[in-house]
């Protein structure tokens, strides 16, 4: 995570996400998947073939792509279908866009009710016998049962969570890095899924996105760094009022 300053002198914290060897693996049509839209299978970071099952290796062999560590599905409209085997780059996103980032949160193991659900616990002294971090009462008398989904101790973390509506401040095309506003679930160097934001406020935010995606062997030659309009770039002189 890094600080970033705007032209008006405000500081924002920014997370760096690297797009490492992403390829489109397969196209699944609407009828095949049984959903409302067709899907595209996309694979992330390269991994060794020894830890992959036979069925997984078939998909990679068919696409002609080295085996990937993470495989996810993206819902796409019919005009945005990409041929399997095309590499995906960070330039697919543009500064000023808003994204949702999904990842597995840091696993905390088996945790008690105070850490997991934020219960208040009991006082440390004044006669409390062996009860300082316990949940207390779990149901009422009339219910005569414990409701499903009652907050109790258990395994915390290591589940998929999403941060919505994160602004993209900057894109580095040379190293394929996306600078995303705020924090993102997951530990350092964990695998992360970045999508266009589903929030209604940011529905019309993207003016001219590269559609269906940014092709590296195409005609467009992008500069090494793409900045948002409001970012203070370090080549400018200091901010004055």
């Amino acid at each position: 995570m890094m600080p970033i300053w705007t032209k008006s002198g405000e500081k924002h914290a920014v997370t760096l996400l690297k797009v490492q060897d992403c390829h489109v693996l397969r196209y699944i049509s609407k009828e095949e998947s049984g959903g409302k839209t067709s899907k595209l299978l996309v694979g992330g970071k390269n991994a060794s073939p020894f830890s992959k099952s036979e069925s997984a290796m078939e998909i990679f062999k068919e696409a002609g792509v080295p085996p990937k560590q993470k495989v996810t599905m993206f819902n796409v409209t019919d005009d945005a279908i990409i041929k399997p085997g095309t590499p995906l780059y960070a330039a697919h996103f543009r500064p000023g866009q808003f994204v949702d980032v999904t990842a597995k949160t840091i696993g905390k193991g088996f945790q008690g009710v105070m850490k997991r659900w934020g219960f208040k616990g009991q006082p440390a002294s004044h006669g409390q016998t062996k009860t300082h971090r316990r949940p207390g009462a779990i149901s009422t008398n009339k219910a005569a049962k414990v409701y499903r989904g009652k907050k109790m101790p258990g395994k915390m973390g290591n589940i998929y969570r999403t941060s919505f509506g994160l602004k993209v401040w900057r894109i580095n095309t040379k190293h394929d890095i996306i600078y995303v506003n705020g924090s993102v679930p997951g530990h350092t160097n964990c695998l992360v899924k970045v999508k266009d934001s589903k929030l209604p406020t940011y529905k019309d935010c993207n003016k001219n996105p590269p559609f269906p995606t940014f092709f590296a062997d195409g005609d467009e030659k992008l500069p090494e760094d793409l900045y948002d309009d409001e970012i203070f770039q370090f080549t400018d002189p200091s901010v004055t009022y």
Partner: protein, 245 residues
């Protein structure tokens, strides 16, 4: 062979070796790498530090960040939208340099009209208009937070101080000042060995000093897992930075 005045043969004394002071070599050996360039020990990708360093070098090309240490007196002018001339100037002694990369900060302390004031500035904040070093010197410690509990005369510096001139090739002077403290209680127990402070003149009785040594952890300096050898990293980063600037 020679015979000395008392008649015994003299032992051969070789002529004294000439001491050659190579001024040029000394000048080159003195190089200063700002501490925020050295990445902390962790599991982050070195690519992130490389990219951060490119940004830092880019900022240093446009805006000069001078060499300074904890204990030097600095004057910082910042752009302030609510000040009279849209710029505010603060003079103080640097008591702490923290943070790595672009978020590196330094804290300046001064006593203005009998009120102690500490300002924390970010080195790479674009609102900073100028950083001037009024007096470049080092102190015996890396962290002068104990000045909060020292007598206020040690933290007062004239706001209109003139910069102290010094030659380029001289070594940075170390001020071996021992600071007198206000009576206890202090904000932190500075006599304890974990702070490892050499710049305070403790007027405490011997018994208190011996009791403080109870909290010493003499095994810490032999702990090999805590060692972080930065010499090779520093060489690489120094080459990168000097090529960039």
């Amino acid at each position: 062979c020679r015979v000395s005045s008392d008649g015994k043969p003299e032992k051969f004394q070789p002529p004294p070796k000439p001491v050659i002071i190579d001024r040029q070599k000394q000048r080159e050996e003195r190089r200063f790498l700002s501490p925020e360039f050295i990445p902390p020990r962790g599991r982050t990708d070195p690519l992130k530090f490389y990219i951060e360093r490119k940004d830092m070098i880019q900022r240093r090309k446009v805006f000069n960040i001078p060499e300074f240490y904890v204990g030097s007196v600095l004057a910082v002018t910042t752009a302030d939208p609510y000040a009279n001339e849209k710029a505010s100037r603060f003079v103080g002694i640097c008591i702490q340099r923290g943070g790595k990369g672009l978020g590196a900060t330094f804290v300046l302390r001064n006593v203005i009209e009998d009120q102690g004031v500490e300002m924390c500035y970010e080195l790479y904040n674009p609102r900073i208009q100028a950083i001037e070093v009024l007096k470049l010197e080092k102190r015996l410690d890396d962290n002068l937070m104990y000045l909060r509990d020292a007598l206020p005369e040690y933290s007062t510096f004239d706001v209109n101080m003139k910069p102290v001139s010094r030659l380029d090739h001289e070594e940075v002077p170390v001020n071996k000042l021992q600071v007198r403290m206000k009576p206890k209680p202090w904000s932190k127990r500075w006599e304890r060995p974990k702070y490892n402070i050499k710049g305070i003149k403790f007027d405490l009785p011997e018994k208190k000093m011996k009791e403080a040594q109870k909290w010493s952890q003499p095994w810490l300096e032999f702990d090999m897992l805590r060692e972080y050898d930065t010499s090779k990293l520093e060489d690489k980063i120094w080459k990168e930075v000097s090529e960039g600037l």
